[in-house]
């Protein structure tokens, strides 16, 4: 439990991905089985423990601490589990750390009444960081800024193998991942994945700019629409069906109707969309279905899912990834004709066209929000995991541009940690006291290192208030902000949310009063 709690503690503070990878790799190297596998599962979110409610913490705290002192402490610390962990009475002499595996097994097996007692007994033997980690684990809220994807990347580094190999093997094993580590340690072959519904790492595309487009030999490429949904991989092996997102997370539970309708065997690549009567709806509609734990019948009715297929990796157990794109396309069309998969259709190919014609089509992909631009795939491209150079391109429609005013700046992370590099900007609206700015988005990218330095200096010179790492600045600097699309959002004060905002230009010259109004942004919504 001690190495695990120290790992969580450090992950919580580590700003850079590379640091997190190094911390995880060290953990895998120094902690024995099965603890490291359980630690991995806890971080990757694959440890399905019965979690205790926060009421259990309150119960324990009430037994062991003074309510008045707890009240002041909680008020100061602001987090229940952390407060309890910090103020728990301590007897350093009795330190006898339980193993993480003991904790995990006991949490799974003990009846609830006994579990609370057991948690108290563990708390007596841990230090503050250990108690914090235990309470976070027990209440199922680790939140230390590490994901399953990050954990798998660290595994690949640890075992010095290709990330794609770990991605595949990952889905064939389960906590505490003994066979996975045995393979990475070179003691055993890779876990058997032939008959498991595993994720196959995706082939990704490079963004194409206009200049690169001029140089492409278009005869070598096949064009199709770039749909504005989420990329999914449908895997059906021996009656087991999975719906994987592009990062290899199983999103099947959020889209049960897609999973239930699968009758075929194979692995397909496509775009998950919301469509009503064959008519594709905007990304915003799809958003209603994402990140939901419970799926209501009303949601299934109002936001029906469709998978629009554009590639095939396996037909039954036959691996097609070694075939060129056009041959796979033929196989995909034959597959769809044969299986007639319900709730799925084919993404049509665009007939070969000249650059001007394609460019016109790309630009015509306006709001309405179902198409983001074009995909150009080399006709002879094999299905290669990762982002191989020059095989697939995404050629997006032009971004929207608006002028916004810098409102807040925050210090960045890693190499940028001493610069103010994260910017919140706003647009004008009518307020009770005349024109006021309302925040409409946040950008971390789009400027050069040289510009970053200038911005940093400007921010330090124009700060009007400081809140921790954030500075409020005088509303004087205008950014030309580019973004892909804009959608209504109830989570933002402005009522709008941008997709992929970035800073196109810094308008040192432009008076802030001439920046855009919120109404202009709302007009850009579909």
């Amino acid at each position: 439990m001690k190495p695990f709690s120290e790992l969580l503690d450090r992950l919580l503070y580590a700003p850079a991905r590379t640091s997190k990878l190094a911390l995880l790799e060290d953990y895998f190297r120094t902690v024995p089985d099965p603890d490291r596998g359980f630690g991995l599962a806890a971080i990757a979110g694959t440890l399905s423990l019965r979690v205790a409610k926060s009421g259990v913490i309150r119960e324990l705290v009430a037994e062991r601490t003074d309510p008045e002192l707890f009240h002041w402490s909680y008020d100061f610390v602001g987090d229940l589990a952390e407060t309890a962990a910090l103020m728990w009475p301590e007897h350093q002499a009795d330190r006898d750390w339980p193993h993480l595996s003991e904790v995990v097994v006991a949490m799974d097996e003990l009846p609830r009444g006994q579990l609370t007692k057991q948690i108290a007994a563990w708390l007596d033997t841990l230090d503050a960081t250990g108690r914090w980690a235990l309470l976070k684990l027990a209440t199922g809220s680790l939140r230390v800024g590490a994901s399953a994807g990050l954990a798998r990347a660290a595994l690949a580094r640890y075992g010095k193998v290709e990330p794609a190999l770990v991605e595949e093997a990952w889905h064939a094993t389960a906590p505490p991942y003994l066979d996975l580590f045995a393979w990475l340690d070179g003691r055993m072959p890779r876990p058997e994945i032939a008959h498991a519904p595993v994720f196959r790492p995706l082939m990704l595309a490079y963004p194409l700019d206009d200049e690169q487009a001029q140089r492409l030999d278009l005869a070598e490429y096949s064009a199709e629409w770039k749909w504005d949904g989420i990329r999914v991989q449908v895997v059906a092996v021996r009656g087991q069906v999975r719906l994987y997102s592009r990062t290899g997370d199983d999103v099947g539970p959020a889209f049960p109707e897609v999973v239930e309708r699968v009758r075929f065997e194979g692995v397909l690549d496509g775009e998950l969309l919301v469509a009503r009567g064959g008519e594709v709806a905007s990304f915003n509609d799809l958003q209603q279905r994402l990140n939901r734990k419970a799926v209501t019948p009303a949601m299934l009715q109002d936001y029906p899912a469709l998978v629009r297929l554009y590639d095939i990796l396996f037909d039954g157990e036959e691996d097609l990834r070694g075939l060129p794109f056009l041959e796979r396309r033929e196989r995909l069309e034959a597959f769809v004709a044969r299986e007639r998969p319900e709730g799925m259709d084919l993404s049509p190919l665009i007939p070969d066209s000249g650059l001007d014609e394609l460019d016109r089509m790309r630009r015509s992909a306006r709001e309405g929000g179902t198409v983001e631009g074009l995909m150009l795939k080399r006709k002879d491209s094999l299905y290669v995991p990762g982002r191989p150079k020059g095989l697939w391109w995404k050629w997006k429609r032009d971004a929207h541009l608006v002028d916004c005013v810098l409102m807040y700046a925050q210090r960045g992370h890693g190499k940028r940690s001493s610069f103010y590099s994260d910017y919140t900007f706003g647009a004008w609206q009518d307020g009770p006291d005349g024109e006021e700015l309302v925040p409409v988005g946040k950008a971390y990218a789009g400027y050069t290192d040289e510009e970053l330095k200038l911005l940093d200096r400007w921010i330090r010179d124009h700060t009007i208030e400081r809140f921790g790492p954030v500075r409020a600045v005088e509303p004087r600097l205008v950014f030309e902000v580019a973004f892909d699309s804009i959608h209504p959002s109830s989570r933002h004060k402005s009522g709008v949310a941008m997709r992929f905002p970035r800073i196109a230009r810094i308008r040192w010259d432009k008076p802030a009063a001439e920046a855009d109004r919120l109404a202009t942004l709302i007009d850009l919504m579909a």
């Binding site: 503070y13 190094a22 103020m87 301590e90 503050a128 914090w132 921790g468």
Partner: protein
Amino acid sequence: MHPERWVQVRPEGLYVVPGDFYVDPVRPVDRAVVTHGHSDHCRGGHGAMLATEATLAIAAARLGEGMAPSRQAAAYGEMVRIGEVDVTLYPAGHVLGSAQVLMEHQGGRIVVSGDYKRRADPTCTGFEPVPCDVFVTEATFGLPVFRHPPIEEELRRLLHSIELFPERCHVVGAYTLGKAQRLIVELRRAGWDRPIYVHGALAAMNELYRGFGIELGELRPATAGVKGEPRRELEGAIVIAPPSAIADRWARRLPDPVICQASGWMRVKQRAKQGGIELPLVISDHADWDELLQTLDEVGAPRVWITHGREEALQYAARKRGFGAEALRLVGYDEEGS
């Protein structure tokens, strides 16, 4: 006479009527008794100052020789009469030269502890409980969530991190007076014998500590580097700098720094996160909660006056233990470097 009758809280600080002097005044006064050299307790412009020799040296180094025209050094345990009050300084264990002030008048005994800690610190004399009628205590970490782990444990985490990130530089924010030198000496004890790099703001206090016989090993300036170019020799090194310097432009010239901070506040995760700290080290020169209560028990004064910090919780806990406890609500002492 009852202590409340001869000690008063005034805007300048704690005033001792029969001696006509202040303890740690926050404004210039005629006569001051100063517990230790931190700038919130030791300010310039007084007519006369009584303190330990080390505190006077620290004050002179920080404030210039003109900080008080009349200076008197007192050794620990040496009684000095000021007006109608007998004043004796006892070690407080906070930083080099730090003292508690025992004041005796007409049979009454008050101890003003200043800032203090109970852990062993190789750079200063350890705290000594002094029996008295009224014990005036700080409450910087006056909440039960504050419990400082052993310093060896915190340094083990620092050294492990250096092993883990050998190409990065670990820059530790530590208060210029006391914390920085204690950290250096404790690092030496933990076996770190490589040069330690220090920010320019630390140089004067390091020299002063050396002058008082405290070995710091090889120190090198961390500030002298080619502009804009990170110094390669700092890879894998420990740099110590004032807390204000670690998150700012100064730190940019260090090679991919791991920002660390040595402070009792690092116990609270949100505090550390807000400060952009990547490796918080819970190392404090103050008593933690358990030690505050332990000290009240050991000193055994029936009455406890609480100066600065989180006084409500300590007052509550002291009363539950049977002490008459009051918060004095003195203003002007900050929490920096705690």
